[in-house]
Amino acid sequence: MQEKPLSPHLQIYKPQLTSVLSIMHRISGVSLIAGLFLLLWWLYGLSQGGEAYIYLMVFMSSFLGYILKLALIVSVTFHLINGIRHISWDLGFGLDIKIVYYSGWGVVLVTAIASLLLWVTLL
């Protein structure tokens, strides 16, 4: 691996919707490691059954479990919906600055609604 230049650090920039959503995409992505661990735990509990599954259910209905569930639901919905935006940019659509702002607010709105729905139904 050769030495490559680093990206400028975040505090250099004035926060705007575009940059905030961009860094939120990364933060939500990295924080989804918790989701990955939970998924592995779920697979383990499901495959073993009995106590292994009950431990998971007990943990998920604890206070910490609720907080984790809420954080994961918000992270995964935001990352997924903002991901659609990123893929459309990669395909060359919606790159106009006005549309970027519209889609940005759209992502915020849809994330809020979808998270709420998931939170209610997955409870």
Partner: protein, 113 residues
């Protein structure tokens, strides 16, 4: 890995997850939250295939994404390499572990132990 390959694989897994994650969550929502029902469902061939694809593309997408973040923000080359190797190791273990679990789920055929 070449940067272009990294970029392309990141997009391919993202596109897969765009369908697999809503499928996974809607399956869970539509099902009673009992161990037996979930086990029986995911031991069937089509749901099990979906589950394997979802888990593997999630892990791969995660490893690719975090590697990129580390490359962007960790200045020291040696530290960066160590973190990236650790992420790869984690990814490998996660892949093997999840496959073993899913084989168990399929082999159970919906019978609780």
């Amino acid at each position: 890995m070449k940067s272009a390959t990294h970029w392309r694989h990141q997009r391919i897994t993202a596109f897969m997850l765009l369908f697999l994650l809503p499928w996974f969550f809607s399956t869970l929502i539509c099902m009673p939250n009992y161990h037996f029902d979930i086990l029986t469902h995911f031991s069937k061939p089509i749901p099990a295939t979906g589950l394997i694809l979802m888990v593997l593309s999630s892990i791969y997408h995660f490893v690719l994404g975090v590697t990129m973040v580390v490359e962007d923000y960790v200045p020291h080359l040696k530290v960066r390499q160590i973190i990236i190797q650790t992420i790869y190791a984690f990814g490998l273990i996660a892949v093997v572990f999840s496959i073993v679990c899913i084989i168990n789920i399929i082999a159970s055929g919906g019978r609780c132990s």
